[in-house]
């Protein structure tokens, strides 16, 4: 009786799980087997690129999985949990199937765990060998396939698939290619390549893991290692990459229970450009990262960074802040020189220190495994909102609603002493913060180069950038003679100060739009409420200046406003989906921009189309400018159409690791970036400059191989 009870419970449990306990996707053995099957969340299929089995030859065959979004199947080393797919063949005498081959996987984080596997779609290729002795005629290739498909939960599934091929007496050559061939070709490129003969792969044990060096001949910005064997690495630990002049070094953490170092470190190494290699590293010496080896590159990058820093002064985001500094200089140029100079130096220090903090935070977060790039703080909606609030408040003050401290016109000899140096320092900080989204055209390459280098080089380049930003003001304070060229102080300064509020409010409008486009209408409501409360605070400050009780009230209002803002944004807004964004932009312009994914790039290139990718973000001002003045112009749209280019938009407004990785693959660390791919999948992309004109884009399109244009002309 108890056995019956257990049995009943089991049956009930299986049905309660909505039949997903073990899904048998195959048709029963009495009916005819099909080459494909649909199980829960998965479509599985046997794929033969050339539907021919010749005696004495071998043929390709693949096991293809198409997965529902969010579901994945596993690599041969599944990582911390999971199980790879298995296949058991039943083949006619004389036909044998080779080992299942696994393409390069993805890291699939799962809470504190890390699995290795595949999302969306994957093809596992195999080779069939047909002996000379095989009987001609129909041959049934029967495969029993079992796999585990997981999202948060896992479902083990099985299917029996079969293909019937006829074996000719005399070998025949394939004629037409079909859908299977396209699919096979497209996904075959995901298989790891053997390590090239000229590449050197070595590893060295460390106290808590291994250092793995890949020397393939050229500098690599980053890489990922997938261990072929289990229980070797601590899978979720981040793999910090240090570029070498001719490769890259990865710092890997070992499994704490690993007692002896392995003789070889086997697995797949995937470089930032997506190329994956099957490696077997042997113990050896790890070359030191040599920043000196690339000294000319460093000097060039530092020079560019310095120049970029100077140009940043003219950017609409930074100019108002610097303009105020300039006014104060005009106002006080009769003061003691020493004070002037010290103010200039303190201001410079403010800029340098905040660049260092920003870069330090970025590097620390990257070392901890986050995939972030330049401008990352603008990917936080709370940061954007508070930034807008800060500038709005500043705008109110400039427009004359309230004053803190002294007015411009009441200049006196003791002004500088009263002001203290903290003001100068934090003006520098503010300049840096508002400057980041305005990455000037010269800076994209420099910042990308800087962030891919060793920490010392990174800091050197950012110091050059900081000095460039500080240079104009610093020079004025160091060379008092030059300040004589500036006009005399007077009432015009008050007018000009109020006028400065206009670009500041313009900047606020832009930030509001950034927030609205990423977080929706409710976020705008939250932001406007923040503005209202800040306006009230400003009014109190203006009406009752420098009184204790009102000041306290202002403090309370501001803290409340910030609290509401943070709470409201976190609790009630979610990222607006990229599909909505892209549909909106597609209706705005004639051309169809689709959301970017590496799979989409591969798909269009496999279909013989060139691909153009626009790496952009709402908070990136130069991206918006490029889109308006170049990419969305009728001339360029027509050129895209003529060259049959597939248009993809990689929107980095919100944090996106895949996009950050793709950018790193180009040696870039931020947006804008524009990549043009030919339809030939072995070609690398061409990068367009950060400042686009219609002419630049059209020229690049004209340089596409003629073959692609011709092939699109034929039906």
């Amino acid at each position: 009786m108890s056995v019956m009870r257990i049995f009943r419970c089991i049956v009930a449990a299986i049905f309660a799980l909505a039949g997903s306990s073990v899904a048998f996707a195959a048709t029963s053995s009495t009916s005819k087997l099909s080459s494909s099957a649909d199980a829960a969340h998965v479509h599985v299929q046997l794929v033969m690129p050339q539907s021919i089995l010749n005696r004495g030859e071998s043929a390709d065959i693949g096991l293809y999985f198409k997965l529902e979004p969010g579901w994945h199947v596993y690599w041969k080393n599944a990582g911390d949990s999971g199980e790879p797919p298995r296949i058991r063949w039943t083949l006619p005498d004389g036909i044998t199937a080779g080992e299942i081959q696994f393409p390069a996987p993805k890291r699939l984080p799962l809470g504190p765990l890390m699995d290795f596997g595949y999302e969306d779609e994957v093809l596992f290729p195999m080779t069939l060998t047909v002996a000379n002795t095989v009987k001609p005629g129909p041959a049934v290739l029967d495969a029993k396939v079992s796999w585990l498909v997981c999202r948060e939960v896992c479902i083990p599934e099985k299917a029996e698939l079969a293909l019937t091929e006829s074996i000719p007496v005399q070998p025949i050559r394939p004629t037409a290619s079909g859908a299977d061939e396209d699919l096979y070709k497209r996904l075959l490129s995901r298989l790891p390549e053997p390590t090239p003969a000229n590449a050197k792969v070595v590893f060295q044990p460390t106290a808590d893991g291994f250092r793995l060096a890949w020397q393939g001949g050229q500098r690599e910005a980053s890489a990922q290692f997938f261990p072929a064997e289990q229980n070797i690495l601590n899978n979720p630990a981040p793999q910090a990459a240090t570029p070498l002049a001719n490769g890259v070094v990865l710092d890997l953490k070992k499994d704490p229970n690993l007692s002896a170092a392995p003789a070889q470190l086997k697995g797949i190494l995937e470089l930032a450009d997506g190329h994956a290699y099957e490696i077997a590293a042997v113990p050896g010496t790890i070359p030191a990262a040599a920043p000196g080896a690339n000294a000319s590159g460093l000097v060039k990058a530092a020079g560019l960074a310095f120049l970029g820093g100077i140009i940043l002064n003219l950017m609409p985001c930074v100019f108002p802040v610097l303009f105020l500094k300039g006014l104060s200089l005009v106002n006080s140029h009769r003061q003691e020189r020493a004070h002037q100079r010290t103010h200039g130096l303190v201001y410079t220090a403010g800029i340098v220190v905040s660049f260092w903090l920003l870069v330090g935070a970025l590097l620390a977060l990257r070392a901890a495994g986050a995939t972030l790039g330049w401008g990352f703080q603008f990917q936080s909606p709370i940061f954007v909102a508070l930034m807008a609030g800060l500038l709005f408040f500043l705008g109110l003050s400039l427009a004359g609603q309230f004053e803190i401290g002294l007015t411009l016109t009441s200049a006196g000899g003791s002004l500088a002493q009263k002001q203290g140096y903290a003001g100068s320092f934090f003006t520098g900080v503010l300049a840096v913060v508002v400057a980041t989204p305005c990455t000037a055209p010269f800076m994209g390459a420099a910042v990308g180069y800087a962030l891919a280098q060793s920490a010392v080089v990174t800091f050197a380049i950012f110091t050059a950038l900081a000095l460039g930003l500080a240079a104009p003001y610093l020079l004025l304070t160091l060379q008092p003679a030059w300040t004589r060229l500036l006009p005399k102080p007077g009432a015009w300064m008050e007018i000009l100060k109020q006028a400065t509020a206009v670009p500041i409010f313009g900047f606020v409008i832009w930030l509001t739009w950034v927030l609205a486009s990423t977080r929706g209408a409710f976020a705008v409501l939250v932001l406007l409420s923040l503005f209202l409360l800040l306006a009230i605070a400003g009014w109190i400050l203006g009406r009752w200046p420098a009184k204790r009780v009102p000041s306290f009230a202002v403090g309370v209002v501001i803290v409340t406003a910030i609290g509401i803002c943070i709470y409201g944004l976190q609790k009630f807004t979610a990222p607006v989906s990229t599909e909505e964004n892209s549909t909106a932009s597609a209706t705005n312009s004639g051309a169809q921009w689709e959301p970017w994914s590496q799979a989409a790039v591969d798909k269009y290139r496999a279909a013989g189309r060139p691909v153009f990718v626009d790496f952009t973000a709402s908070w990136c001002l130069s991206c918006q400018v490029n889109e308006r003045v170049a990419l969305r112009t009728p001339q360029v749209e027509a050129a895209f159409k003529k060259a049959n280019v597939a248009l993809l938009k990689a929107d980095w407004t919100e944090r996106d690791d895949a996009i950050a990785q793709a950018l790193a693959g180009f040696g870039r660390s931020g947006v804008p970036a524009y990549a043009l791919y030919t339809s030939n999948s072995s070609d690398g992309p061409t990068l367009l400059p950060e400042a686009l004109t219609p002419g630049i884009v059209v020229d690049a399109l004209n340089k596409l191989p003629a073959a692609t244009a011709a092939s699109t002309a034929t039906p």
């Binding site: 999971g82 199980e83 104060s328 800060l390 002001q419 003001g423 503010l430």
Partner: protein, 211 residues
């Protein structure tokens, strides 16, 4: 120079913001090592009692990570394999804790009464089923999968950590003929021998921790 003072207040705010926007918390991962002392824990069992590891010093203790919805766990329960192990070893004085680290809303999460009726239905016989919804014990021992097995010796040292057996599938048919690592570890340790296989890759579903 009007602005410097409020520029300074406002922009020190900005600087603070900048860092807080970047302030992501990092997970510490201290994994238990085989041969090292097993960290103590306290937990409420489904029978309402509070259990701790320290009170069982001097005894062998088995920890079994459990998720009744996981196909791999079900493999060992529908076959009766796990229950048989529990009976065999608790009869020999081993303390057997079934640990449920599934967070509320995740697969495998159960209330105390649901777990009690499950134990009853399955004729499972662990010393206790520990309700570890916050994943404290799970994180303490870096439990990755269900099932995952840990064996602790009377001195309080971890002597086995890993899979239940050497057939990492969800297929009931694979139980017969599989090498059961828990049986092996306990048998060897009780005979005073060192444990041959003390660390393996656990297989199964990932433990459904809270995010």
């Amino acid at each position: 120079m009007v602005h410097n003072s409020h520029l300074s207040t406002l922009s020190s705010w900005t600087a603070a913001l900048l860092l807080s926007a970047a302030g992501l918390s990092l997970l510490a991962s201290a994994q238990v090592k085989v041969g090292a002392p097993a960290p103590d824990f306290q937990a409420t069992a489904s029978n309402g009692k509070t259990e701790s590891l320290d009170q069982f010093k001097g005894k062998y203790v088995v920890l079994e990570w459990h998720n009744q919805g996981c196909p791999y766990t079900r493999k060992h329960y529908t076959s009766g394999n796990m229950q048989a192990l529990q009976k065999e070893w608790t009869a020999k004085g081993v303390v057997w804790f079934t640990v449920i680290s599934s967070a509320p809303g995740e697969q495998g999460y159960v209330t105390a009464s649901q777990e009690n009726s499950y134990l009853n239905q399955m004729h499972a016989d662990p010393t206790a089923a520990l309700l570890d919804f916050q994943g404290k014990i799970g994180h303490l021992y870096s439990a990755k999968t269900t099932p995952q097995m840990i064996v602790i010796d009377p001195a309080g040292k971890v002597i086995y950590d890993g899979a239940i057996d050497n057939r990492p599938t969800s297929d009931v048919e694979d139980i017969k003929g599989a090498k059961n690592y828990v049986n092996e570890a306990l048998t060897e340790a009780m005979a005073g021998k060192p444990v041959t296989t003390s660390y393996t890759r656990p297989y199964g579903c990932s433990v459904k921790y809270a995010d």
